[in-house]
Symmetry: C2
Subunit: 219 residues, 2 copies
DNA sequence: AAACAATGAGACGATGTAGTGTCATTTAAG
DNA sequence: CTTAAATGACACTACATCGTCTCATTGTTT
């Protein structure tokens, strides 16, 4: 209905006055949470002002305070809301271990998730609960998925390799991403990297022996 | 000479006035950098005030501004100063691969380095150079050390495993540390974890075959 | 000894921002 | 239709903090 200025660079925005309809009311909170992520990613938690956050969602400060109490409340609500969608869609978990690994690599290295991770790390002192939520919905769930697939494909004896595998899937690349040193990988690069990691743990050939010489995957 | 209030909680501090001696002058900058780390770790970059930073070093704001220009300058100087000492002392690099790995694990998971890492990640947008400096003096150097030891102990064919090994050495534990979810490991836990990682990559037995079932290392 | 440099102490101005109050406007609810 | 609720617009208060300025004090330099 309204022009959705999701990118939301300017602080000013024209919206009609008065009490919103029930549908608008429902959509408004989601809109605020969504645009708040963009603002926080671009500016960081501290430097982002409430006016910026309000302007990005085309509401006024009053509405922000009415909905979330204060800036902390908005940040908390935003992270918790996103945590639900952080992990991969479970309904797609029918592929091979390789494809699952590749999808995890791609997703976890995306600009959005890296930025969110960075925000939560930065504010983990002030919001320890958010750190727990993000981890349990992200890393922990991904490792569980990997464990299920490993058991199905390689046998239960290899199930404990899920966590090391996950560590390899992120590894140095992910640390460089958190520091802002590398761009996000393409889907092809993610797949290539995932295959290399499976090889290093000998998970691509459960009976074979010698670890392969590693080849650089992306960048 | 002076009572070293390195913990530096209170803002007020008694120090004699006037121009400092040459020795004091030399010691003062180091003192400021050292106490600034404690303050930034405890409060974060944004919330830390210049007065806190000055009080912790028992100097006044004047001195901070005279030495470093502004808050950004102090932060930059501090990180660059610390980056030099981030990696392990090279003179101790005569042990086994196992002991090197354990020392890396212990150091990189320490409260100090995790906190520094967290700070630089949080401010990587505003200070991209610091991210580069920290990474090149930290991760990159550690990986080089591992590569040298691997070549010496396991042969040149395994040298490419240095980066995956480093990834395993940090892995899930380090991400949990960044999020503030776990305490720092003890030296014994670090060694145990390092051995498990070497086993996962079959680096503890260069001719053997089957990956061992992984055992939890710490926590 | 005299002039100069560096600092502590602390006040001060300027600025930015969180959060609130007021009034007009529009829709929801009864 | 009437009343209440929610919101936009925006002024306004309160407060924190950056960075500078002045003056007294002490070491350095010549």
């Amino acid at each position: 209905m309204y022009s959705q200025v999701t990118s939301a660079s300017g602080p000013a925005a024209a919206r009609k006055r008065g009490r919103p309809t029930a549908a608008e009311r429902r959509a408004r909170e989601a809109e605020i949470l969504s645009t708040a992520l963009a603002v926080f990613l671009r500016r960081g938690f501290g430097p982002a002002t409430v006016e910026e956050l309000a302007g990005a969602a085309q509401v006024t400060k009053r509405t922000i305070y009415a909905y979330f109490g204060d800036k902390d409340g908005l940040f908390t609500a935003m992270v918790k809301d996103l945590a639900v969608t952080v992990s991969l869609d479970a309904s797609n978990d029918h592929g091979t271990l390789e494809s699952l690994a590749a999808r995890i690599v791609f997703r976890v290295h995306s600009d959005e998730l890296v930025g969110l991770h960075r925000l939560v790390i930065a504010e983990s002192r002030r919001f320890p609960e958010l750190a727990r939520v993000l981890h349990s919905h992200g890393d922990a769930r991904h490792i569980s998925r990997l464990a299920e697939h490993i058991r199905a494909e390689c046998g239960i004896a290899y199930q404990g390799l899920a966590e090391p595998l996950f560590s390899l899937l992120l590894g140095e690349r992910h640390r460089r991403r958190l520091l802002g040193l590398d761009p996000a990988p393409t889907a092809a690069q993610a797949l290539s990297h995932a295959c290399a990691c499976l090889g290093e743990l000998a998970l691509d050939r459960p009976v074979s022996a010698v670890p392969a010489v590693v080849t650089p995957t992306w960048r």
